[in-house]
Structures are given as C-alpha cells and as structure tokens.
C-alpha cells in the first residue's frame, strides 16, 4: 500500500509539473476528440501482434479521458513446437483512463492512468505420436491496469500517433527477484498508428 501511495504521488507530481509548464499552446495541436487506430507489439521479443484503438476526449485542454481497446494475437511465431500445437491464442484488453495532456509546437503528449480488464483465450494440444493427445484450454478475465503514454505529432486532421502502455497488474510483485515481474515486463505494449481528429 505504501508503494502504491508513492506511485500515485509520482504520477500527481508528473501531472502537476507538466501542466504548469504549458503557458503558450499552439491551437493547431489542441484536439478535443480523436480516434487513433494502430498496430503494435508486446516486448516479449515481439512475438505478439496487436491491433489497437485509442479514443481520447479532452473536455479541457489539459484534462484527458480515454478508452483503449486492444486485440492481441499472441505468440504468432511459435504455433507448433516440440509436438505442442497452439490451436489459438489471443487476448482482448479494454481499458478506460484519465490523465493530462501537454503540448509543444507540433505535438502533444498525454499521460494516462488506465484501468479495465483483459480476456485471454488459448488452447494447446500435445500431439506427440508416442503419447496420448491432450488438449488444454484456458479462458478467463483478469484485471488490467497501468500507465499509458500517448504521443501525437502533426498539425492536420490526420496525424501520427505513438503510445506505450506499462501494465501494473499483477500487483504487488509476487516474488523475491526482479525477474518475477516477467508477466508485466513481457506485456508492455508499443504501438504506432494514424490518428484522426474528430473535433
């Protein structure tokens, strides 16, 4: 709980500091409502392929609300190894968040605290000819929360967008070794896309 407090203090500090530095904002980079489809990978050696979308609404210049959806095809390069076949392996994440946006001449930066859920589904089958075939299916929902950074570059209606998401679930880290955050570390998302200014 102490750690969580430190984390929120750090985020609050981040938000206050960045917001206070924004005195002259070029109006062209201020967008009220955007849709930003993109593609991405997780940092588990790039074996997951992500189709994502961010919808961001700024009721004020600096206050941001967002919805992030991600469909992930997981482990796409290792679908049949050592007689273990992956029948399917995907996950869907839906998160909502709030944060702040700050601006430079041709770009904007948004930091968001996100919370939502993740649905995971995968099935593996052992088909070793010397053993009886066995399949295992795992489907389930889990919480998903973390920090998202979104970068938008461009002054026109269409713009370039980049974002990254650091998951903080499972929390706290269950273990005595930094390697034990492998689940979080391998699920860091890096995404690129084209944004569309709606309003």
């Amino acid at each position: 709980m102490k750690s969580l407090t430190y984390l929120f203090l750090a985020c609050a500090l981040f938000v206050c500091t960045t917001a206070s530095t924004q005195s002259r904002i070029p109006t062209a980079v201020v967008r009220q409502l955007t849709i930003e489809p993109g593609v991405g990978i997780h940092t588990n050696f790039g074996t997951d392929f992500l189709l994502t979308n961010l919808v961001q609404w700024n009721p004020t210049k600096r206050f941001s609300l967002a919805s992030h959806t991600s469909f992930n095809l997981n482990n796409i390069y290792q679908r049949d190894v050592n007689y273990v076949k992956t029948n399917y392996n995907y996950s869907i994440n839906q998160k909502f968040g709030a944060g702040t946006t700050f601006y430079s001449k041709k770009s904007s930066h948004t930091a968001l605290l996100m919370i939502g859920f993740k649905y995971t589904a995968f099935k593996e089958t052992l088909h070793n000819p010397d053993l009886d075939p066995v399949s295992v299916t795992i489907n389930g929902f889990s919480p998903d929360y973390g920090l998202m950074y979104s970068y938008k570059k461009g002054l026109k209606k269409c713009f370039f967008t980049f974002r990254t998401y650091i998951p903080l679930y499972p929390w706290p880290v269950k273990g005595s070794n930094i390697d034990y955050i492998d689940g979080n570390r391998d699920s860091i998302a890096v995404e690129l896309g084209i944004g569309l200014k709606i309003k």
Binding site: S3, L4, Y6, L7, A10, C11, F14, T17, T18, T21, N74, N75, Q78, R79, V81, N82, Y83, V84, K85, T86, N89, F102, S104, H109, A111, T120, F122, E124, T125, L126, N128, D130, L131, D132, V134, S135, V136, I138, G140, S142, L147, Y149, I166, L168, Y169, P170, P172, V173, K174, G175, S176, N177, I178, D179, Y180, I181, D182, G183, N184, D186
Partner: protein, 268 residues
C-alpha cells in the same frame, strides 16, 4: 523537459516495483554452508543446509528437501518450511540447497540437444552417490526414500520429472514447478512411459504447479498431459496441481513453491 520528466516517472515506477521485491533471509545461526566437489563431473557445488530450530535438542531424525536453483530459492524454501511446520505442528525438515556448479541448463536437462544441455544423468548420479550420502552422514536425517523430496522450477522441474522416471528409488516426493516437459520432444514423458511398470505401484507424492499466463506455446499442454498420466496410472500417489491465476513463468514460481510445500506438509 518532457523527456526528463518521462524518465523520472518511469524510474519511479521501476523503483516502486523493485521495492516490492524484498527477500527474507533465513536465520544464519541455523544455516550451514559447504562446498562439495564432484569427481565424476569435475565441478564444485555450493551447498546450504537449513536446520530446524530444535535440531540440536530434539534428537529426532528429519526429512530432507533438496532444492534445485538453490542460490535463488534457499531462503524462501527454508522460511516457508519453518512457518508451515509451526502452523501445522508438524516436524520441520532439513532443507538442502544445491547451488550452481555449472550451467543449470546442462545439469537439469536429460538429453543433449546442444552444447549446453544433457547433463542430468551425471547430475542425478552426483546427488545420489555423493551429496545424499554426505548429508546423511553429517546430519540427523532420515535415510529412506519417503523422507526425501526434490523441488525444482522450469528446467529444475524437468529434472524432477527425469529423476521420477529413471531413478524413482532416490526421492519419494516431487515438487515440480513450471516443468519444462516440452524439452526434446517430451523426452521426460517418454522416459516415464518406459519406466511406468517399475514405478506405478510405489507410494509417492507429486505436486505440480504452473502459471496460468504461461502461454508461450509449449508449457500448458505437456503439463496437463503429465498430470493426466500420473492421475490415471499411479494408484498409490498423492497428486495435486495448481495454476496460479494471471501469473507467468517466473512470477508464479514463489507462490507455487509455497503451495507445493504446503501440500507436502499436509500430505506427507
């Protein structure tokens, strides 16, 4: 300015995550350390031994738990055994941690698929013929198969499955966590099948643990298949499995160690 602030926030997040990773050291007064050189392998292994608090006063003989990857897991296993012993009012055990002498991927894998695999046969021989005799000579421990447990994670779990199949007379209890049963086309499962007739009527305890989020395409199906094989063919076995919700290969390790030891203390 933006980049600097971003770095500061990331650093803070990382420091918060790291601050959660605190490890409790096992009581040094009850810890013995020594090295043992294996003439057959030509490697020296660091060994740590955790003694029960009543070791010197009780006069009883204790069961043993041999821990692979001992450099990482000794403190957790020793502390957990103490707390479980207290909780259940059960006799504590002597924890024997086997540290790294050479690459773990050599020692823990049963067959040679590359330059750094395939040393399990000689490593098992080292444990059987060199380490266990020394422990049983130097400490007040039980000398029966039923009193010995082996605990391993990943390749260590694979080594447990290998020992179970090819020399079932050494250990009576197996705690296999996220075992790499996929290794070399499930060779450890083939070995189990080949030796099943000799092993299936022997009393033994097996706990298998894995992380639910281990979806790298090779962990879950062999894990489930191995569990089904043990369940269907070993009538005199105390068998349990656990999937840790939402945790991955390394993240599930410590929770599964605790649950595996819990199962052992309740069912041995």
């Amino acid at each position: 300015m933006t980049v600097i602030l971003g770095i500061i926030v990331m650093a803070l997040v990382l420091s918060v995550l790291l601050s959660s990773c605190e490890e409790e050291i096992f009581n040094p007064a009850l810890t013995r350390t020594f090295t043992i050189e294996s003439p057959s392998i030509g490697v020296t292994y660091p060994i740590q031994v955790a003694l029960p608090e009543n070791y010197n006063t009780s006069g009883e003989k204790f069961s043993t738990i041999y821990v692979l990857d001992g450099d990482q897991d000794f403190d957790l296993v020793a502390n957990t055994c103490k707390s479980l012993s207290d909780r259940y009012g059960a006799p504590n055990v002597i924890v024997v941690s086997i540290g790294y002498g050479r690459d773990r991927s050599i020692d823990y894998t049963p067959t040679k698929t590359g330059s750094s695999t395939g040393g399990a046969p000689e490593f098992l021989e080292f444990i059987t013929s060199e380490l266990i005799p020394k422990i049983e000579q130097d400490y007040n421990v039980e000398t029966t198969r039923e009193s010995r447990t082996i605990l391993g994670h990943s390749y260590g779990g694979l080594f447990g499955a290998y020992a179970f199949a090819v020399n079932n007379s050494v250990f009576g209890n197996y705690i296999m966590l996220s075992p790499s049963l996929w290794f070399d086309d499930e060779v450890s499962m083939i070995l189990e099948k080949q030796n099943r007739v000799d092993n299936k009527d022997v009393s033994q305890l097996v706990f298998m643990g894995i992380g639910e989020a281990e979806n790298t395409g090779k962990m879950q199906a062999p894990f489930e298949a191995y569990y089904q094989i043990l369940h269907d063919n070993y009538s005199d076995m105390s068998l349990s499995k656990n999937r840790e919700d939402d945790l991955s290969h390394m993240g599930s390790k410590d929770p599964n160690i605790v649950k595996g030891l819990n199962y052992y203390f309740q069912n041995r």
